[in-house]
Symmetry: C2
Subunit: 314 residues, 2 copies
Amino acid sequence: MNLPTIDDILAAHRRIKPFVHQTPVLTSEQLNKLFSCELFFKCENFQKVGAFKFRGAVNAVLSLSDIERKRGVATHSSGNHAAALALAASMNGVKPYIVMPETAPAVKKNAVTGYGADITYCKPTLQDREETTRRIIEKTGAVMVHPYDNFNVICGQGTSALELLDKRDDLEIVIAPVGGGGLLSGTSTCVKGINGKIKVIGAEPLNANDAWKSFTSGILTPSVNPSTVADGLLTSLSELTFSVIRKNVDLIFTATEESIIECMLLVWERMKIIIEPSSATVLAIIKENPDFFRKKKVGLILSGGNVDFRKLPF
Amino acid sequence: MNLPTIDDILAAHRRIKPFVHQTPVLTSEQLNKLFSCELFFKCENFQKVGAFKFRGAVNAVLSLSDIERKRGVATHSSGNHAAALALAASMNGVKPYIVMPETAPAVKKNAVTGYGADITYCKPTLQDREETTRRIIEKTGAVMVHPYDNFNVICGQGTSALELLDKRDDLEIVIAPVGGGGLLSGTSTCVKGINGKIKVIGAEPLNANDAWKSFTSGILTPSVNPSTVADGLLTSLSELTFSVIRKNVDLIFTATEESIIECMLLVWERMKIIIEPSSATVLAIIKENPDFFRKKKVGLILSGGNVDFRKLPF
């Protein structure tokens, strides 16, 4: 299997740099005191479409051949990846085909159409999503851009850690959340490629702990009907992301729903920034493992800030 | 009456600079597009204690004589000013005496005690608050630091606009919210002292429009039982702030409750930062007066980000 290297991530960064926000790295004296360590938050909640997903999507679009560009790109997603691919494609004159379940919230449908994509609706089952996407690809020749099981997407997601280490070269630990594993794959490839001494840790909801199970057992073990407030982390690792994570990640910690919600509220209250529950997972594992992180300099990737304010978990 | 000048604000800035956060100036392509103007948000929601109030409080504390420092400072407040004065005093080895109504929310009481202040509780009437504060001052000799009817507080509040103009010297309009008028007094003194051509506009809830009434009629006209979601703007102008505002402010616009809530949600959704309803008033007046602001470069002071997440207005 062809795994990404630091050179692939450096190349992705050169490619996407004119299109992405160089998001800030924020700190909070109050949270440092509370958790007895030095925290550096890389704020992908301020990224375009409100999530790191835009980095991978735009790298995938910019990596298309001329023939592929004319055919368009396709994906099935009800979340941030759909909006990210729609915007990344539209910005570059490439046609995006997005398959979404007809039950998706209006706000998500509007975001995707607002970025210039045609939505094809399907029934809310994985089978119908995949079938509908396959039909579109057959008809149009569009290139499938999977949300995480995709080499170029992983390289794009790794550029966030690159910018973080560029600002702070003294970090001892970097944490990224893990769902399908695209962000953690890119992050770990980047960090280990720059400095092998920095520990890379995945943060996963206990209620969707397939990555932890797979990592611990050495056998790819997808989740069955996971349920967590961290709705960006419901998906399971693929063969590709599992391979990268086994090679580059030091540890995976899990966090309870209570910790995730508590840490989301802490960031809102103390830092005055909006993060989604998936992002709070990186702080929640610090809360649950204080001895491991005590007095360490820790970089945390805040993955996104797309929240339905009418359905808050607190 | 001795009104502050730009020199007083420059002196305040030199005094408080080591103690305050130089808050960022943020922009949003989406909001620029939506409102057809260029917006520059000065983020006092990221200030210590989550509000611009800290600037005024710390300037007041640093302006005490040695004898006054030993006696301490006192105020009555249930909001951001109490927390700001408590922290400003504690940081500088000065004893803060804070009078709060016994009915104040636990979260506000905890914030103030967390910053090292003794709270004296009173009945939730203005009369009992003033009477209780008077007794403490008689007993201790503490210096009263009023939340806005105070020369040094006004000068401190003006330093936010100073940092804003330092970063953006091409602004055509600067907007600040107006409640008691401390922030608008400091802001307008600063802006007009630097460049008389820049328009300074106050943003006030229609439901608490004493400043608009006073400014328009030329007669100080306090609000009677105002009721607005912008709970930081319930107070009325004092003689001092009214005098400064008459001299330096070009216009006061009011905004409805609906506009304030809508604009608060817009900033949360599009910018991923937490602002309190009072802060949203500055954007709400742009929404209600699109022709006035079209294609202009507008600086907006986001006054604070202290929100009770269990009582959201949307």
